[in-house]
Amino acid sequence: MLILTCPCCGVAGEETEFAAGGEAHLKRFGPGSDDDQFHDYLFMKENPKGVHLERWRHANGCGKWFLAARNTVTMEVYGTYAAQTYEPPKEIKDKISAKVPGWSWREFS
């Protein structure tokens, strides 16, 4: 069971109050992109054993989207942050580094 703190309304709620929304920081490829880019955007998702960055929605709550950094093995939640960001904030990266030295996820580490 995950406990996530919604950065939009401040509620620390358990998993059933939220809806998982897949991988965070997706770069969208649509009109104008080539077939390989579009294929990768649609199908080539990260599915790591360890550090993961995800989108979540406070579905049974304030209704807002946010991003979360967590560990798929230990179920530890490193932190949640605004959906309006291009990369995880420094304090969250630092927290992950303290627990999982040398971690990387796509272009972030």
């Binding site: 939009c8 309304c9 401040g10 509620v11 358990e14 304030c62 807002k64």
Partner: protein
């Protein structure tokens, strides 16, 4: 004219707390920039209370205002006054980017009364209902079993709940089951 009635028309259940389906209540969903001075002023005029902070709920009787999300409020006014209050909002905020809609007939409201009120909610929602975690003045949007709901505490032994009208009966049955005599847990006693 049709005769407006609330979803369960005042149904009542006496368990270890009293569960009551409440009558008609005017409700306005408001979306906009809650930090804008004009919005604060207009809301205060209509709801008669200051803009609530994060997860706060300022209620007195059937008027008040609850914080629903960083850009959303639920404004409570007497049922008969909704149209007039909406006009007031629209006049006061002309030219502003906002949205205000009458949702009175799209909601159901319940009232729990009694010492076990916290416990009834705790059985149905993933929320810490201990007195040091939740109390009067706050609103919590969450779920009651399988339906979205929001609740607040008018005082330390009562809880008021709003949910969608389409699931009013499900909500009422949940509350009845959770309040059944003999099913007290005594967690917060």
């Amino acid at each position: 004219m049709s005769d407006a009635v609330s979803p369960l028309n005042g149904a009542k259940y006496e368990g270890f707390v009293t569960v009551k389906a409440m009558g008609l209540q005017g409700m306005i969903t408001f979306r906009g920039d809650l930090s804008a001075a004009k919005v604060k002023k207009a809301v205060k005029t209509v709801a008669g209370t200051d803009m609530p902070g994060q997860r706060e709920c300022h209620m007195s009787g059937d008027t008040g205002v609850a914080w629903m999300s960083p850009d959303e409020l639920l404004i409570f006014v007497p049922y008969a006054d909704v149209d007039a209050k909406l006009d007031e909002l629209h006049k006061a905020l002309e030219g502003q980017h906002f949205l205000a809609v009458n949702v009175s007939d799209a909601r159901a409201m319940f009232h729990l009364e009694g010492n076990g009120a916290r416990e009834v909610i705790a059985k149905l929602s993933p929320v810490d209902m201990s007195p040091n975690a939740f109390g009067p003045g706050e609103i919590r949007r969450t779920r009651l079993a399988q339906i979205p709901a929001a609740f607040w505490m008018p005082d330390t032994t009562s809880v008021q709940i709003v949910c969608f009208r389409s699931v009013a009966e499900y909500g009422f049955n949940l509350l009845k089951t959770a309040a059944e005599p003999g099913s007290e847990v005594g967690m917060f006693a």
